[in-house]
Symmetry: D2
């Protein structure tokens, strides 16, 4: 009998049997004291055992046991677990100081290695061993997600988080990722994740998903070999004729289908990072370029690669500017005009042509001129411009959804990926902090 | 048309096209100075560019370019390359010292992170980026192999080697490895590697390989996802009736085939580590246990899991002991008897029964009693006993090949893997340094 | 880039390109007369061309063209198409008669071959060639489905249907079918078909499907290589403890999950034939036995293999018997008791214990004694008993759905598949027409 | 553990277990008479049982048993088996006659169906059931191969052979075949078959095979789903610059490799049909065109698709013509010149320019003018010209191997596949029997 399953499944089965036999061993070994230990005490004992232990079978069983308990912890349970890690598995400052001192004296390789070892916390070893158990990678990614949400209130966890981040950076090196096209033939397990993870323009169930996987749509995802059914990041693309100026026609379910021969533009309308635990371990720029290369090869008729992106920081910036001192701003007139209408008609539905022009000017200004530490304020702009794209168009009332109005005042923009310009744009951006924009947009932004 | 190729192949194609487009960019950017640079100068420039660079396409192209040049370097070229890495991409001691000092003062997370960053050499970043290019992982493994052969003469390269080792330890975490059974259905590309890598009992071409993949034989290998056609380590197994006492019947090509129902013993007769560059990143213990678990599930009739292993340090130890002072040894009589015959008949073919008993006694003594730092001298003994196996049998004239005589005086031994004893043996071994052996072998060793 | 697609997809692409190039050729060849032809005339011309033609590329293009037009025909269009096939592509009786005459005279191999050729209609050749185009097999299966619905009103189409049936019998030889376990990892395209095809206990969307694919459920399907995303027949199984006595607990979505170790019974609760066009080309018996063998190997704890099946002919038989002459029947008393209550309370909800016993007796009698041409009246009974199962239990109010009440008066039965008895039961059934039943059921049936 | 095996393997395992359980049943059923039966008697009993039997498990076991015995039969054993099939499982002429008579009277569908059934021999049913067992298809293909070699001496087996051929034609419909590119990544089991089957230019072991699978070579094969490791037909292609004029440079192992960008010509230099048992069930024409379409898509630089083919009938025709009456031939002078030299120097090594021109003229004449039943005498010419290729070049001393000299006097020719001309050439060839040839060749042939 053949199974529509990846080979990995079979490996897990064997690992499971090793884990199982290890469990029996662990059971035999444990004494009565276990029975009176609390969950945090038990976790501490198990983690210590795993770090000290050498036996393979019981090592895997231990790892799986720790992961199983972790998986079922409540929020408080996780707090206690992280506190325990911090308390019992952190780097020992006295060891670091001693090693640093020795290095100061010896300055040789051995002293440097000793310093390196002293800095590496026992927690790293623990994480490495947890990763060996089936499903370990996946759970460690989730664990970092949990850690990140606690950092603000528990800055002492930074060291643990840093240990885990360094491992994940090594493990998720781009050389190990696999780009896959996802269509309706894909596994339901994967597609279910796509529905769950879509962060930008929600997918309403299986029929809507099917619509996003039609002949005139593309969905590409990066996968890591240890998580074959769980994408890392994915991008959704609409193939159409000419540039896209609003989101609704791209995601409506009953759109007319354009025949392949007429498609000349690929619009990247949604990029979703799937795991909070991989925050800061970026693959997005690589994904867009790799997908563009793939589409070019498959469909030579596609000449334009663009995004249709929100301007998520625009409204916040606008309101903040209005609140501080609109009069002092170079775009004083435009700001004052907007100040009048915005509180009454947040949807800007009644906006006349003049005001529309004011808002677009402000948006162009915001995207090109408003910076922090030399780079644009807007996070989406930073991402695409940093990738080497240029700012090509600003569209009025392009996303009138609640979220679209709330963050971007309904505005969306096209960032353009031109193969021949990408590297140059990228360097201009990083060398001079200058935003490469089309003439039209630059004209709008000109005061 | 369908292809019998793994999905990875397709990914590489796209990466290749990105690399290609990056090449064009690089070409345009390079100026005349390039033409006058030597290869080592060019490699230094390229590596610097890769570490400093952010552009994806040209980054991949750069990485591939460096790897391509490296692949074609002569021995001297590699020397120069490693010297350049050492010179230009090592950790800067002054930065480490400054960071250590700051940590001494602040003792907080940020200071520790800064110290960690100061210790991490630019070389690590270089290796990470090289790994992103197609084929990068494979070449970095080879590069560490080259480094290791130079360490003795060039101890200053230790830091570079250590950087690479740490990355490989992270990347080759067991959680990422895939166990595969290799049989005659496997890809010729993989089988060719098996022929090439078999280190213990040479495979003489394709017919011999086929023989090793018969119904009564098994071959299992670990693979890493980034090297889908290149095994990491593999083990060869003979299924038979009763314990194996010599190697010849196991590898002869015209042996009679035993029907599956009569097979009760799995003899692991060869374990080959495939890459020098993965030295010290051990998977062997894991492999044996995982394979035993898999075989148990597939063939419940297999009750005994043993090895048939050489004693590679025996003859060296024997000659060394004879040369020093045989008289002072607890096995004086046996040593003197052997001393007489060994120089005349190195093959021990004419050995009479008495002498045979002397040699076996010496071997049992060597395996059980002769230790260094608390553990057995013999490396194969250390490996299996450390895994939790016990020393079960010592066989006379079990491998009369040149290599077998030269290293082990023709002796081979069975190490026994008993599921129920493995953990206990393992702990006995590491806690007390005691060799767990059968009564028969212990009796032999008794003076 | 790798794709989660079967290799077949790639083949289709190449075939599509051949088809495309063939289309251009066909276009060039066609003259003005085409423009004035009606669809049926055009189809007749195209089919004639395909049967007479030898060119590969244009042959494939022709086949695909015919299939494309067929796919979009209305009911009347299909009527016209089948009439055309009957008129233009039927066996020529005069050729058959001449060949038969010759065979009567010559009685040799050549004459027999000639007779065989004379009998084989041009339609067979047409169907064979249509099958060569991508998607051909699938459409020919659908075509037979359409033919079967027309046979009653259009008996002259029997010859065409017979031609197609003979081809499908050859093509769907069991040796070519692939048994696959379907779980949540399977392709959405396949799962969508499962939802569509489930004929016995409707699947209400994706969440319900997921429920049917849980750890304690199994779904196995047969696939043909030419229809890799479209199952031929599938069976649904519930793993539980002890025999199942009603359908609701098996398909409810929020059932408690039994751990694997406690599961001892596999209940086949639904078998769905997916294609009307494969009617009479049976795989069901093979499927059940193959799945039982597979489950036994995977889960040795499963000791009992049973069905939970409707008695779809029971109510019809009962009402018919009541209508004719209940008094004359051997179960007169029971029939009269039922006659009283049935018209008022078709759901039998108010039925007291006595009446319940009457109905069960009648059902046992119906299943064991009521026959047609020597075999049971009930079609589901015929299927399982013919497979070698025995009739084990009759359950009261086991399926109170509308359909369950309407056809089976809510009764369901267990047919038992006992490995050791299957062949004997099978032979008893076919040799003597005797229904093998448990003591309990036989006692019920005893008048 | 994952396996590099196709899913089919797993199916076979289950089928094997069904077969195994069936065997036990069969064993129990068989009585003492078995022990005294001869092999042919036993085979006759088993085949009868299989045709009459309905039980699935024992049916599969029976089928496998018959196939196992068949596989081990000697030549005489096969003779006896085929005689038994002919005697016991042939069409019954009296049934055919009766059915034919009834059809003569009734002339309706039922009578036609009855006639059809009467013609279908019990052997067909036997073959269909044998095909259901694992490995059945493969063995039936081999069986037809055995039958074909016996036909000449045993014409009475024609009916059996015809039954099997009809089934194989249905089963190997092109719609079911899968085109695969074979390279060094392919399974050793498949590659071993390629070495075995190569019929035109022998492959000398694994190194030579590897050479044929280099970057500048292609090998494509058709596979049937029931024989996933055993190709049906394959074609070998050399990619080069310009047309190929002799075979040696194409198959030499140490040739210089041309970079991909310079390759403009694909030369099909070898086509091998792998199974005698599929004789007359042609796929070659389809293969060439499908491969050409695939190569065009992959490598747009390839502009010319040609073969380098032998002229296997040429020397035979020449010697035959010389033997009969050279004087009467239109090419009298050329024939006489050749007649003088051929018996002394069969290798034509000493041939002067004049004679060379004579031989080429004779060959051009042979290929274009010498026909049987309206089509060229030469079988290879018939194949490619019938496919729509044109005769483009005739090369002197292009294959000086023994076989090349013996059959083709060392001459090889290029047949050219031009996408735009194929259909027209094909029709010209079949409508008028005219050989489409280049000006150069036509000039040569002109008397």
């Amino acid at each position: 009998m053949s199974a529509r399953q990846p080979a990995r499944g079979a490996l897990s089965r064997i690992l499971d049997s090793i884990v199982e036999s290890g469990r029996a061993i662990l059971k035999g070994r444990r004494d009565a004291s276990d029975r009176f230990a609390s969950v945090p005490e038990l976790m501490a004992m198990r983690c210590r055992e795993l770090v000290d232990h050498r036996g393979e079978a019981s090592g895997l069983a231990l790892a799986r046991e720790i992961l199983d308990v972790y998986e079922n912890l409540s929020g408080e349970g996780r707090d206690a677990f992280f506190d325990m890690l911090h308390r019992d598995f952190s780097t020992d400052p006295s060891l670091v100081l001693a090693a640093a001192e020795r290095y100061g004296t010896d300055r040789d390789f051995n002293a440097l290695e000793a310093l390196r070892r002293a800095i590496e916390s026992p927690c790293q070893k623990l994480f490495r061993r947890l990763n060996m158990a089936p499903g370990g990678t996946s759970l460690l990614v989730a664990m970092r997600g949990h850690l990140l949400t606690r950092l603000y209130a528990n800055p002492q966890l930074s060291a643990i988080e840093s240990d885990l981040r360094h491992l994940l950076i090594a493990w998720f090196n781009r050389g190990f990722l696999d780009l896959q096209r996802i269509n309706w033939d894909a596994s339901a397990r994967v597609l279910e994740k796509i529905i769950e993870y879509e962060a930008v323009h929600e997918i309403n169930g299986w029929d809507d998903l099917r619509n996003r996987l039609n002949q005139d749509r593309r969905l590409f995802a990066f996968f890591h070999p240890a998580m074959p059914y769980d994408p890392i990041i994915f991008v959704e693309i609409a193939l159409g004729q000419g540039s896209a100026s609003s989101i609704a026609p791209l995601i409506q379910t009953d759109r007319p289908e354009l025949e392949a021969a007429s498609q000349d533009t690929a619009t990247f309308y949604s990029i979703s990072n799937c795991h909070k635990g991989l925050k800061g371990i970026s693959f997005g720029n690589f994904l867009i370029k790799q997908v563009a290369a793939d589409l070019s090869a498959e469909m030579p008729g596609i000449k334009r690669f663009e995004t249709l992106s929100p301007v998520p920081g625009f409204r916040g910036w606008l309101e903040c500017t209005l609140a501080s001192n609109a009069e002092a701003h170079v775009l004083k007139d435009e700001l004052l005009a907007v100040q009048e209408i915005l509180p009454q008609d947040g949807s800007l539905e009644t906006t006349d042509d003049a005001l529309r022009s004011d808002v677009l000017k402000l948006c162009a200004h915001y995207l090109i001129e408003e910076k922090q530490a030399g780079f644009p304020l807007d996070p989406v702009a930073r991402f695409h411009l940093g990738n080497g794209a240029s700012l090509d168009f600003i569209h009025w009332r392009a996303d009138t959804s609640d979220l679209g109005m709330k963050r971007s005042l309904g505005i969306m923009v096209n960032y353009l990926y031109e193969d021949a310009q990408i590297e140059k744009n990228h360097e201009t951006y990083f060398a001079e902090g200058r935003v490469v924009a089309s003439n039209g947009v630059r004209k709008l932004a000109r005061v």
